[in-house]
């Protein structure tokens, strides 16, 4: 019989060798570099042109074609805007958007964004770290997940009126995160991009950003945040469970029934397609493994897709 003692230290808690070898250097950068740069929050990759990021969107409420949202969202009303905070939280209430975000400093973060449809962009967001919003709202210990709900506005959103035009998802759009995912320092509630307020087609006035997950996780035009005990069911999970799971982490080895996820097209940098430069390899967790991989230690991410 093999008797094995459990390791008394988690592998994730061991400081990597290159870090402790260079601890003086590390202290210097930790003390003097801006926090965002230190933790790899800003990619130095070429930013996708604003024009592309605002005319090529998946936002089925305004139509399933990627050109539809910019065409059909021009009159969408984002003022006034209220967000309902409910469930297992100390301060459930209906907040005016300004009150909800009052006292929380927005940050600029340039993130990669990987769509499940095999394309990607690099977008400079401005937003509030969701962790600081959650701390302000004070969840109860029983809260394990966050459920986000987007607006239901049939009069303003043609995709919600017509099954054919909007793909027939179960409206309003719903998404969810585990509490630790929501608290991860990468997770952002975006209110702007490219130094401007968020355009309507990109999810104004507030949307979720989780750069290590596929883009559809980034629910737009949020009107409700609910703290819950059990795992929420997202709109895409409901509509096509074989293709869309709860986690939706970018994973080049977990296939989608429609798309092989091992490669992606970076919008705005097509390269020379005749020389095989149309696509590039997709990175695990979209390249944010350092910040997020520890949250999924021991999980089979092909099963928990």
């Amino acid at each position: 019989m093999l008797i094995q003692r459990a390791a008394d230290i988690l592998s994730s808690e061991i400081t990597p060798e290159d870090v402790y070898q260079n601890r003086r250097e590390f202290l210097k950068t930790a003390l003097f570099a801006p926090a965002a740069a230190m933790q790899g929050f800003n990619t130095t990759e070429k930013v996708t042109p604003y024009e592309y990021a605002t005319t090529y969107n998946n936002y089925y409420e305004f139509g399933t074609d990627r050109g539809d949202p910019s065409k059909n969202s021009g009159k969408f009303q984002t003022k006034p805007w209220t967000v309902t905070v409910e469930g297992m939280v100390k301060k459930p209430a209906r907040y005016d958007l300004d009150d909800l975000l009052k006292g929380l400093a927005p940050e600029d973060r340039t993130y990669r964004m990987r769509c499940v449809e095999r394309w990607s962009m690099v977008i400079p967001w401005r937003g509030i770290p969701l962790a600081s919003l959650i701390r302000k709202l004070e969840p109860l210990p029983s809260a394990k997940y966050l459920e986000f709900k987007a607006i239901l506005a049939r009069d303003q959103m043609p995709g919600q009126r017509s099954r054919l035009f909007g793909g027939g998802l179960d409206w309003p759009y719903v998404e969810g995160l585990r509490l630790d995912e929501a608290m991860n320092s990468l997770t952002l509630i975006a209110v702007g991009m490219y130094g401007k307020p968020l355009p309507t087609q990109n999810g104004a006035p507030l949307r979720l950003i989780t750069p290590w997950k596929y883009g559809f996780k980034g629910i737009k035009a949020i009107v409700a945040i609910r703290f819950v005990e059990t795992q929420p069911v997202s709109s895409w999970m409901k509509s096509w469970p074989e293709a869309y799971g709860f986690y939706a982490n970018v994973n080049p080895s977990a296939d989608h029934p429609r798309w092989n996820q091992s490669r992606e097209q970076r919008i705005g940098e097509p390269g020379n397609p005749f020389l095989g430069q149309a696509t590039r390899p997709t990175l695990m967790f979209n390249g944010y493994g350092e910040q997020v991989a520890h949250m999924y230690a021991g999980m089979d991410l092909r099963k928990n897709y």
């Binding site: 429609r258 092989n260 397609p273 095989g276 696509t279």
Partner: protein, 212 residues
């Protein structure tokens, strides 16, 4: 009949030929001038794909249109339009194999096995190959009209597989695939009704001259 066989080379079909090259020509222009939109690869793939389907449907529409409007010469366009369907199918296939997958054989086989929509598209394309090869007068004589016609009924399968390929390819935006499916259904039902009518001897067989 004689006029059919000794067709002048510069007749209306030349204009039709030029018209059929337009989608490809526009695509080449857009590529050269960098006007393929936000996602150039997708534009090339989707444009060639949708034109394949359109040309397949137009090919299938020629016989019924001929009967309805009574312009019999239109049958002379059928082979050309059918070959254009094949031409766009080749471009579509090449855009996948070369531009999208860059000849990554393993990834393509994986795609084929795992994704029914790829299989449907592949099937739709593969059956067009023998049809294109046997589209010449020589082959009609070699096979004999009846057998040739039988073989060329594969176009029904190709068009159906093409619509299925399109339908399975989209996520939930099924509007356009449904429209193409309805058009194809109408064309196929029309043929079915007609062949039933012919079998029961209610209509004269004007279809026999459509062999050439």
């Amino acid at each position: 009949m004689r006029e059919w066989i000794c067709a002048k080379t510069t007749d209306w079909r030349s204009y039709l030929f030029l018209t059929c090259t337009l989608p490809a020509a526009l695509l080449v222009c857009a590529t050269a001038t960098g006007n393929l939109g936000v996602n150039p690869l997708e534009t090339i793939r989707d444009t060639t794909g949708i034109w394949t389907l359109r040309f397949l449907l137009v090919t299938l529409a020629i016989t019924p249109v001929r009967r309805i409007i009574g312009w019999h010469k239109i049958i002379r366009a059928r082979r050309m339009v059918g070959l254009f369907a094949f031409f766009y199918a080749v471009l579509h296939f090449v855009s996948y194999v070369w531009l999208d997958q860059f000849f990554a054989l393993h990834a393509m086989i994986d795609d084929l096995m795992k994704r029914p929509f790829i299989m449907a598209g592949y099937a739709s394309f593969v059956v067009l190959v023998p049809l294109a090869v046997t589209s010449t007068k020589k082959w009609i004589l070699r096979l004999g009209g009846k057998r040739w016609q039988l073989l060329h009924r594969l176009i029904y399968f190709s068009a159906a597989a093409g619509v299925v390929h399109y339908f399975w390819r989209v996520k939930l935006d099924v509007q356009s695939p449904i429209i193409y499916g309805l058009l194809l259904g109408t064309l196929l039902l029309g043929r079915l009704r007609r062949s039933i009518a012919l079998a029961s001897g209610q209509a004269s067989d004007t279809g026999s001259s459509s062999v050439v």
